[in-house]
Symmetry: C2
Subunit: 490 residues, 2 copies
């Protein structure tokens, strides 16, 4: 049992440090600020000090910021969403490797990032037999505890203690040729145990804290988000009518974070649904509400990114939520095998899509990273239907989310089936690229940009004699170049 | 029992026709030429006649050509590789929908392409109880027989009769929420039955033929293919040394069709390997040789695209091959669950890659389709390691296979791990995009193009203040534009 300041003395320049944390949940509260301070001091004294930082996904904003401010991160993997870190990446002083969240555990097991020197993992308690009770996110913690040479545990008494038992930590994964089927056939199937194992000989420090997760704020949907949500709900009704989705229960829902996803979940409140389920990577307040109302029966996730009020609700009604929410390692919450088998309805945000249905989730104007791909590819690629959502414009209309060609592709035409903006919904399934372009321009583009997109599409066909995917290579990025030069794509 | 000419009278303009065939194996031999002739006659008489054509993958060249020549195909799905059809697609007279081969069965079950009016399926025989013995490819035949309203069977006595029993037709797939784990944990696990089922009431015609599959020619590897293969074999040795691949058996191999894949398989002959296995979608002659030598113990596929000599070998040694080769439906040979679990070494060709590791498998100069994505995405995305292979130049050096940005993305930076040309191998794993660019230019690009790529990369960094993925939006496709204007990227 040591102080955070003492614990971080086990961390050395060049170390690969794997920490807990997924979205706003489960980042070590005291150890990381202490590490950032130590790096700052060492650097101030003239010695270089940076680590390679592996996480679940994004971590608490302070964590990412403090480490970035002292230039403490040499390499970052797999997802970030904090402005200071983003600035370091885009200025070339931090390496960022953007991989699918379902790939992280196996790639680290295989040593793609060298050995993991130290893991720093927040837990909500330690059992009498020495097993670890996870906190509000699971992420890659099981893997970190298994592969790291040294372990620092942060035992946080600020996490609702009754969370114990909500987790399902599966120890059956392996590297090939020893992989077995993952026997989840329903969202609420439990295949693991409620605690992490750790080799006590590896634990070099235990730090005690009492710090709740910083609440993940929830904002009410605006008119644009609400319009997007309405189109999605219409689509569900259409698919039910076509016999492709069960009428009451649909299929398990996956939704990204943010206003639009919240609006969709909010809309389910009024859709007459009962007994829905969710298989996703992050649960926010809206999900608690749906569970309480009986609209959602079970929800599986790897993180609880709740607001302060959400955590209070969880705490106050823990007996009710306990059997209805399951927290899994992200290699299971995002596992291609399970995603495919359960048949997820995958709903994820995007920065922009092109008229042929290719999606950019990560890069501003093709060059600067925004966040990362996160789990969107895991769900979109292997899900039952892959839906991407975005307002049709950004920056007060200066940016069109529908463009002739995206300057970075995170999801290809083969993996994108439905695109939704507040203007409408383009159902790209079974359409050839030329027909997709018609749907994208007519249904999804903002009216201010329709003529320019139409003009591009028609001239591209004329210039190339049609073609499977007509493009004018000299002006594919005219929208983006205009924005960079004038501040508007118009 | 009717003639092919009579059988095709069941096919009407606007019908969706699902036929057997995967690569050169298993296309109906007589019915399709009869259908093409009928369409030609009806059209000559002034009536419009076109069908929607669904297949396994490519079908025999004649099939695709004859139907395209009479403008008999309105919509084509999921893969084609024949020049006449390609011309119709690129001139805008044929719709082509390019989807992952593993997605075909479920999308058709869900009705994305409307109802399937008629299936035309080649079989090698009919059992006494009325079940169907598959021929040299399985493809989507199980699905076609299940979903089609009418069925035409072509019973081909030209297929080696002892092929019976080599097939493993799995009837356990379902639509969610009723999906169960697919219990394959080894390449040679059998989970199905040797025959197809068909509702006899749906069978409107049986056509008898005696026509072997047109042999799929094999060419000896040239120096470039051999150099690529050597780099791949070095990589295997490197991965074995790093403890990531089992020394003798590696992990199951998947290889696309063509010279380069053949060279890699040929190279395994001299690598000291024993007890390898393959889990792939097409087997060519080289695989028979490896099996005969004991280098490969078991091979799973959905098609046997053999040369005439290969079929003779199969026939002559059928007792030996019978237990060593398994033919599965393509929804299983390419299934994400199985691909991930077995941990495939995915090796696929490409048209071009960009310096950041995005791969174009399908589009010439961004607009015109070449073939289709086929199964490459199924294997690359969920496999153990995804390797893409290509000569560093095409058309006598006028085209560089390594470019600043690919004008069409079929495999994103998140799904591409290793790129190989005859120049060398770029191991992109764990590298940020800027470091990937260094590896791609130094290891994979042809020396004639290295300076131009370097120049682009350096100027892009300078202009954007580094950035995660530096690009100059005004000249991303300068290589391609130069080729279109001058006939050379130089």
């Amino acid at each position: 049992m040591v102080s955070a300041d003492d614990a971080v003395k086990f961390i050395h320049p060049g170390d690969t440090v794997a920490i807990s944390g997924f979205a706003s949940a489960g980042t070590p509260k005291d150890t990381i600020p202490a590490l950032a301070a130590r790096i700052g001091q060492v650097r101030a004294a003239g010695t270089d000090f940076a680590i390679n930082l592996l996480t679940g996904a994004s971590v608490s904003t302070d964590t990412e910021r403090l480490l970035a401010e002292v230039d403490g991160i040499a390499l970052r993997m797999p997802y970030q969403s904090e402005p200071t870190a983003r600035g370091r990446i885009n200025s070339g002083t931090m390496d960022y490797v953007d991989i699918h969240l379902s790939h992280v555990a196996q790639q680290v097991w295989l040593g793609y990032y060298g050995k993991v020197d130290i893991a720093i993992v927040e837990v909500s308690g330690i059992t009498e037999s020495g097993e670890l009770i996870p906190s509000a996110s699971v992420g890659n913690n099981k893997t970190w505890l298994d592969v790291a040479e040294k372990v620092i545990l942060e035992v946080n008494s600020g996490i609702p203690s009754h969370i114990e038992g909500m987790h399902d930590i599966y120890y059956g994964t392996a590297l090939p040729p020893n992989r077995k089927p993952i026997m989840i056939t329903k969202v609420d199937d439990r295949i693991g145990q409620p605690t992490f194992r750790v080799d006590p000989d590896k634990v070099v420090a235990v730090v005690r804290t009492h710090s709740p997760d910083a609440g993940s704020p929830v904002t009410a949907p605006d008119a644009v988000s609400q319009a997007i949500a309405d189109h999605v709900l219409d689509f569900f009704a259409h698919e039910v009518k076509a016999g492709r989705l069960p009428a009451d229960t649909l299929l398990p829902l996956q939704a990204g974070i943010g206003n639009v996803a919240n609006a969709v979940l909010g809309g389910l409140d009024h859709g007459g649904y009962r007994g829905l389920s969710c298989y996703t990577e992050v649960i926010q307040d809206g999900m608690l509400h749906l569970i309480k109302e009986g609209i959602v029966t079970h929800a599986s996730t790897t993180a609880l990114a709740l607001s302060d009020a959400g955590f209070e609700d969880l705490q106050a009604n823990i007996d009710f939520y306990h059997s209805r929410i399951i927290l899994r390692p992200q290699e299971i919450s995002n596992h291609p095998e399970v995603v495919r088998r359960l048949g997820l309805i995958a709903m994820n945000g995007m920065l922009e899509a092109d008229i042929y249905g290719n999606v950019n989730s990560t890069h501003i104007m093709g060059t600067k990273i925004m966040n990362g791909i996160g789990g969107s590819g895991d769900f979109a690629r292997n899900g039952f239907v892959s839906i991407f959502l975005s307002p049709s414009t950004a920056r007060g209309g200066a940016i069109s989310a529908i463009v002739p060609m995206v300057p970075h592709v995170d999801h290809t035409e083969h993996d994108v089936q439905v695109i939704v903006t507040e203007q409408g919904l383009a159902d790209l399934r079974s359409l050839s690229p030329r027909k997709r372009a018609r749907a994208m321009i007519d249904k999804c583009a903002h009216p201010d940009y329709r003529d320019a997109l139409d003009d591009y599409f028609l001239r591209a066909q004329a210039a190339t004699g049609a073609g499977q995917t007509p493009h004018l290579l000299g002006e594919t990025f005219a929208f983006h170049q205009r924005y960079l030069e004038t501040g508007s794509m118009k």
